[in-house]
């Protein structure tokens, strides 16, 4: 068993699980094809901008459910500004760590929370819909975990080049992963899943070093 006691506790007895009636904001990230999907519902105090209530649904593995549980626990009662600072690393630390191959589960949970907050802010005129740019791509790449070590591919310096052609909508990424790398296809697939959801992205080209 590679899971910490805390992970198992949150998996077996998750907090804040269930559909919320009339939420102020929701977000769904992931997909059945990736094997995990999380939906987060928020109830926000409009005056104080505090997260009054939060709940989630999860289709996924034990660590997926556990991280969604801990992320909602961490967000509950916090102001939107405070909750925006919750990262996947915080979620992982709060669970006493996850096996490296499972780190991406904490990213999904934290990401879904951030999307729900962002959806709330956009709907209430607190922020503009952000412009899609190269920075957006880099922010997305920071959410992609290399499973063997449980770190993101930007931190690990696996991304050598990122380009975005605004006219054609073509994304160009150079990844420093060799052909024999067992996670190369996973990483490439996840990059596509993260970027395809943006309507500005029409084509994604991922280059690898020639071996």
């Amino acid at each position: 068993m590679q899971y910490s006691e805390k992970v198992l506790q949150h998996f077996m007895h998750p907090q804040n699980v269930g559909v919320m009636e009339n939420p102020d904001a929701t977000a769904t990230e992931g997909s059945p094809a990736c094997g995990d999907q999380v939906t987060i519902y928020l109830k926000v105090d409009e005056e104080k901008l505090i997260i009054e209530d939060v709940s989630f649904l999860s289709y996924g593995c034990a660590s997926n459910i556990a991280t969604a549980s801990i992320v909602t626990e961490m967000a509950k009662g916090k102001s939107l500004e405070e909750a925006k600072k919750i990262t996947w690393r915080d979620a992982m630390d709060a669970l006493d760590g996850l096996p490296p191959v499972k780190a991406h589960c904490s990213v999904l949970a934290a990401d879904t929370l951030q999307s729900a907050i962002s959806n709330y802010e956009i709907a209430h005129g607190l922020k503009e819909v952000p412009n899609f740019s190269k920075e957006t791509i880099i922010e997305e790449l920071k959410k992609i975990i290399y499973p063997q070590v449980g770190e993101d591919i930007i931190t690990l310096k696996m991304v050598k080049y990122v380009g975005f052609d605004e006219k054609t909508g073509e994304v160009l990424i150079d990844l420093n992963l060799m052909s024999f790398d067992q996670y190369r296809d996973n990483v490439a697939e996840e990059i596509r899943e993260h970027l395809e959801k943006y309507p500005e992205v029409k084509d994604i080209k991922i280059n690898f070093p020639s071996s």
Binding site: M1, Y3, L8, F11, M12, P14, V17, G18, V19, T28, P32, A33, C34, G35, D36, Q37, V38, T39, L57, S58, Y59, G60, C61, A62, N64, I65, V101, K102, P147, Q182, Y183, N186
Partner: protein
């Protein structure tokens, strides 16, 4: 229930107490290796010949056609590399299927790197790979066909005899290797009737010791040596293979083969009961692979819709129940079961697949307990699942 319920016997199985007893003398009393004209050596040669006879009889082979190896994977290595390399002068085309055991598929990848060309046959939705597809794939330069007799995920039994007929009808020799790891002890295996050239089996899947297997090599097969080194016994891979393990292997085979039909019937009854309980007790359960005779007697693989298999196995583990899943989240490579995907299952079906492989040590009571727990788990996880909530709306 206090004891662990183990239903992952296709990976490895509990060693029978009788097997351990049969092994003991060869660790400390009769540990010798053969050497000429010395009594210790002769005793070990006689013991070895006895063990080899047991394995040969089970397969209806001649004792000299059996080579002990340090496991099923090494047996596959010796056969596949041995056949491909020794016959590459005749051609460089090899055939297998997309649902073969990893031992075979990793060889396919290796052969491709070595300059061979590999054709991958596709299965149907039940996991069967038809002999017609093999026939269509044969070329003038085809030298080898490798096949997994019983699929390791869904238990589909491949038509080995029909393959052999197709291969025999070709106008040149095509070598035929079969991995029978999941078939041995679960089916009648008669190598002569099957028409194979080489066939690999292992001991630890039939309650024998880990670390010992055997390779059948039909007399007259052209097989190059793949492992080099000192040969202690003729009929054993080079190196110091354990005589105790051979003793254990032989004992495990004897125990199964003293009543093979009864053994198969017992496993079939348990599997039928398990499937019946799963289908009648739990909603949204779908069997993967064939029903009935086309399926090996100890394998049940079902998909539970809307939920993910790793979460299910972790929860079952809390109740001391061991089963397997085809979910990507439970795999090291984070990929869903390639067998289920090749059979046309979607991601949710693959991620939600549960594989139960039974042994003679499982009981109906264990099955009742497991299904009851699985039923509770399915309710709990579905309550958390956005996919289930969407369908319920």
């Amino acid at each position: 229930m206090n004891e662990r319920i183990y239903m992952d016997n296709c990976v490895t199985s509990a060693m029978a107490p009788e097997v351990l007893e049969a092994m003991k003398p060869y660790f400390s009393e009769e540990y010798w290796y053969p050497s000429s004209f010395v009594s210790t050596g002769e005793a070990s040669s006689a013991a070895f010949e006895g063990f080899r006879k047991v394995i040969a009889a089970a397969l209806n082979a001649k004792p000299k056609e059996i080579t002990f190896t340090s496991g099923g994977t090494i047996a596959n290595n010796i056969a596949l590399k041995g056949l491909a390399l020794a016959n590459s002068g005749e051609g460089r085309h090899i055939i297998c299927s997309t649902v073969d055991y990893p031992d075979l598929l990793t060889h396919a990848g290796y052969f491709e790197k070595m300059g061979f060309e590999v054709s991958y046959l596709e299965p149907d939705e039940l996991g069967f790979v038809s002999a017609d597809k093999l026939k269509a794939a044969i070329r003038q330069d085809t030298i080898l066909f490798m096949s997994t007799m019983v699929n390791h995920v869904v238990g589909t039994i491949q038509p080995i005899q029909e393959y052999a007929k197709v291969l025999a009808a070709a106008n040149h020799k095509i070598w035929f290797h079969v991995d029978a790891g999941q078939a041995f002890g679960k089916l009648h295996l008669d190598v002569a009737a099957l028409g194979v050239d080489t066939l690999a089996i292992s001991a630890h899947k039939i309650h024998g010791p880990q670390g010992i297997g055997a390779l059948y090599v039909k007399k007259g097969s052209r097989l190059g040596p793949y492992i080099h080194g000192v040969r202690r016994f003729e009929g054993v891979q080079p190196g110091g293979l354990s005589l105790a393990a051979m003793a254990g292997f032989a004992k495990a085979v004897e125990m199964v083969y003293q009543d093979l039909d009864g053994h198969i019937k017992q496993l079939r009854e348990l599997s039928d009961y398990l499937l019946e309980q799963l289908e009648s007790q739990i909603d949204y359960v779908e069997l993967n692979g064939p029903r009935g005779e086309g399926r090996v007697c100890h394998n049940i693989n079902v998909s539970l819709d809307f939920i993910e298999g790793e979460a299910i196995t972790v929860m079952l583990d809390m109740h001391k129940i061991t089963v397997a899943t085809g979910s990507a989240c439970a795999s090291r490579g984070l990929k869903p079961s390639y067998v289920l995907m090749a059979m046309g299952k979607n991601h949710v079906q693959s991620h939600g697949s549960m594989k139960f492989t039974l042994s003679r040590y499982n009981t109906k009571e264990q099955i009742d307990f497991t299904v009851a727990k699985l039923k509770e788990i399915a309710v709990v996880l579905r309550e958390r699942s956005p996919l289930y909530k969407a369908i319920k709306k």
